[in-house]
Amino acid sequence: MGVVSSKLGNLGVVTTTLDQVFNWGRNGAMWPLLFGLACCAIEMMATQASDYDMSRFGMELNRASPRQSDLMIVAGRVTRKMAPVVRQLYDQMPYPKYVVSMGDCASCSGVYNNYALVQGVDEIVPVDVYVAGCPPRPEQLIHGIMTLHEKVRGESIRNWAS
């Protein structure tokens, strides 16, 4: 014992549950899909850029391919022409996957109750967190993401199969 601790220092022991390790890993590196639709995408870019710096939450890496991403931030209005594409992108993402509906247009189509828009993206994909605002401030988006992290922290790997 004495030899090992003098060579390696006091390593200490951490006991935890498998759930917590998994959720810690997922929260620490939740890669969003590089997917912008309209105005909110500009605020999403601002959130990732210098001033707000989303890399503090391990999210600086936007993947352009849905195969490599865990989180889809639907940033902007979803038109009827775009809806099949959004659904296909969601289907291509591997489990476990999450959706944040950013802004009023994505959540409930906002001020546009008309022929062109899907009235809320939750008609085509399941949404985990809704972020209100037109467009939401970067702080609001960060709050939405922290809320999602909270949700992920409460998940259990026993429920994966369902």
Binding site: G36, C39, I42, S50, A64, T79, K81, M82, V85, V111
Partner: protein
């Protein structure tokens, strides 16, 4: 123990069949595409370099683009139709969301059309305030363009530097309008509120440092051999072709055509400011890039001149109470003010059954509004002729014969916003 055999069910799975017919593309792509000699490739609507949701169908010979068919409409929101059943002043909020990088310009063009339709005066001071906001928006839009254009070509740091400056402008917008992006600050007859004191302070400090920051961006890109290799001689469009396709703004001036609406058909008192219109020579991606860089310096000059002329106190909106609601303080004193306030916020003002057309120089190019009144409080038809739509139409001309990697540069250089294109 089981043998590791390849999964037969996966192997036999057919790829998803395309549910269209090639017949639809007859005449749009060359005959070689039908024999399989050239390849048809779909790019977008989800693609990091299409600046939103543009889809293009490419016909490729190796990596060379033979044909390019843009497909727009993935962001069609029906804004024009929505404005038709809103009162004139309420329509302003919807115009923000068209070209979301330059909301003030959209507000302004729509307000200009309303003012022309109902013959409403705008105080001199409000016109100067509008010019300051318009030029700030131009810088704001050019900064996003610079960041994303450089990001598309692999220069990540420019994006981060550009967004530091952009945040300063957004904070200033928040000081005067209460919103970062969707300002709705311009209203028929002037602007919504007066500039606040903190806005003047923030603007002064911004203007004193911003030109040196543009120098910094230039040091990163302008003489960068990699940047020059990727941009010079790419996406050339001749002046005559550009005019024929309706290209406008910096993309047209990159080809050397001296056409800037601020000089050619001045509005909001632009004739009183001294600024130069930067012109390119070759009409390639590099020239279009360099012109936008120079335009940022010119915008700073215009704002500085406007600040000198702007009195700190004075009217910021028209006094014509048939169109402009009275200030809140008057409501307690004057019965007439209460009546005007009630009429304007319940019914709105009426505009004659007449049509107007106005055009302004947005950061992207010529943004024009066609507005037709009914005699009532809502318009019969609103139509926006937007620069992005024209530029996307001209994309095939610019990109034929280039590689796919160059197409990314070309899309960045014409500075398209799909919200502006599809509306």
């Amino acid at each position: 123990m089981t043998l590791m055999t390849p999964d037969k069910s996966q192997e036999n799975q057919q790829p998803t069949q395309w549910e269209g017919s090639l017949e639809e593309l007859k005449g749009l792509v060359s005959e070689r595409a039908f024999t399989g000699e050239t390849m048809l490739l779909n790019m977008g609507p989800h693609h990091p370099s299409t600046h939103g949701v543009l889809r293009v169908l490419l016909e490729l010979d190796g990596e060379e683009i033979i044909n390019l068919l843009p497909d727009v409409g993935f962001l069609h929101t029906g804004i024009e139709k929505n404005i038709e059943h809103k009162q004139y002043e309420k329509g302003v909020t919807l115009t923000d969301r068209m070209d979301y990088l330059a909301p003030m310009n959209n507000n302004f063009s729509f307000c200009l059309a309303i003012e022309k339709l109902v013959d409403l005066d705008v105080p001199e001071r409000a016109q100067i305030m509008r010019v300051i906001c318009l030029e700030l928006t131009r810088i704001n839009s050019h900064l996003v363009w610079l960041g994303t254009h450089a990001l598309d070509m692999g220069a990540m740091s420019v994006f981060l530097y550009a967004f530091i400056q952009r945040e300063k402008i957004l904070r200033m917008f928040e000081m005067i309008s209460g919103q970062r992006l969707m300002t709705s600050y311009m209203r028929p007859g002037g602007v919504w509120r007066d500039f606040t004191d903190e806005f003047y302070t923030a603007l002064d400090s911004f203007l004193s440092v911003f030109p040196s920051k543009v120098d910094e961006f230039q040091r990163l890109l302008t003489n960068n051999p990699l940047w020059i290799d990727r941009t010079q001689g790419i996406g050339i469009i001749e002046p005559e072709t550009a005019l024929a396709w309706g290209v406008s703004g910096p993309s047209l001036r990159g080809s050397g055509v001296n056409w800037d609406l601020r000089k050619a058909m001045p509005y909001s008192g632009y004739e009183q400011y001294e600024f130069t219109v930067p012109l390119g020579e070759h009409g390639d991606v590099y020239d279009r890039f360099y012109i936008r860089i120079l335009e940022m310096y010119e915008s700073v000059k215009i704002i500085q001149q406007a600040l000198k002329k702007l009195p700190r106190k004075g009217p910021f909106r028209s006094e014509n109470r048939k169109f402009v609601p009275p200030p809140r303080a008057e409501l307690g004193r004057s019965m007439e003010a209460v009546i005007h306030h009630f009429k304007l916020w319940t019914e709105g003002f009426s505009a004659p059954d007449d049509e107007v057309y106005v055009a302004v120089e947005s950061p992207r190019g010529e943004l024009s509004v066609y507005l037709h009144g009914t005699g009532g409080t809502k318009p019969r038809r609103v139509h926006f002729k937007t620069p992005s739509f024209m530029h996307i139409a001209a994309m095939p001309v610019m990109s034929k014969g280039h590689f796919i990697a160059d197409l990314v540069a070309i899309i960045g250089s014409i500075d398209i916003v799909l919200g502006d294109c599809d509306r």
